[in-house]
Amino acid sequence: MIDVLSGLLVLAGVGFYLAGSIGLLRLPDLYSRLHALTKADNLGLGLLTAGLALHSQELLTVLKLLLIWLAVLSASAASAHLIARYARRQETKS
């Protein structure tokens, strides 16, 4: 049961990864690509870590997975903002 659930979560995570990267490749401008990227960062890795955490037995591993996800989550939020602002500044400058 747990195996099935964890497998489904991992697969869903990979799905979001692929969706995010296809969006990054196909969407027309920077800001919409930014939107696609955050899906891969937040949901893709989030679901993946959730699936892996269900799969693992040790508490330390679960905590590490949680830390990694939180790190990527807040780093991607902050860097998405910073990159968008950078692009915005470049636009207004030229």
Partner: protein, 363 residues
Amino acid sequence: MSATNLLVLDGLLVISLVGLAWAALAGSDARRSVILFMAFGLVLAAAWVRLLAPDVALAEAAIGSGLAGALLLAAVQEQPRQPLAARTASNSNPNKPGLSVALQLAVSVLCAALAGTLAWALAHAFNSAPQNALPRAVSSNLEASGVSNPVTAVLLNFRAYDTLLELAVLLTAVLGIFALGPARPGYQAAGPVFDGLARWLVPVLILTAGYLLWVGAHAPGGAFQAGATLAAASVVLRLAGRHQIGLPQGRALRIVMAGGVGTFVLIGLGLLVTGRPFLGYPPAWAGGLILMIESAATLAIAATLVLAFLGGQPRPLAVRVTCGNTSATPGPTGKPASPEGMRGAELRAAEVCNRIPETQKRC
């Protein structure tokens, strides 16, 4: 993983690596090249993992993509917006340098020949039976080395001389950077988003550095990875516009910088006095001594990498106060600053201030 899956994985990684390296080397836009180089480092870390080199992957993740990227980006941002506008004004196309076609061809042929020779040598190495003498020597002596991670055992016990000399190289490099002038100016205070990022990223980085240092004895990790992670914490603080980035000042900084080599040499000499060979640890003490050396080396490496990011001798905090008074003193100081001199802090500060107009002239 099945063999086919692994083959697909290897193929994707290798194609990505060669493609990224080629793209990073081509073109004339420096910012593009730096970003491509960072991506190259990320993929390279994955390749190290695939080749069962997690220690190297850790170092690559911390240094190759993160710190080297930050260092190169800081250098790019100093360049003029238009790539090389001033310097290649005579050259209409910066891609085609003034070198003659014949010379370019000759260099290309020589490099191709070098690649061929290297490939031939590698093929020879791969086809002959693997030389197992060294790995066997490592694994049979691992018990006595004081640590159970074979890479750490090689770095800090079996081939400790290499690491000692490497720390000396680091010290020399940072002294060279010092001699080239003062640090770049700091950044303006960051907005709330960046500040929030720094607020949690810095403690986590410091904690991770401590963890990597500790875990290096029995699992991938160690002084290099820990030092790089610690340096990243300071780099984030610097980017966030803080004045205090955790770098000690004046004499304390010098002690930390020299601490890696110093601890190493002192322990080696101490062992020599007790009748053992230089850096030949007694097995019972080896673990403790290695941890001691690694701690000092971590701090020294971190200080070196932070100073490398600053790009020169850090200005003493007092300079900001005294600069207004001393910068009126005329006269450019033509000679390079010699930070190892015996002058007092005020004199050094005055000299740093004098040099500011000179360095401001860059394009």
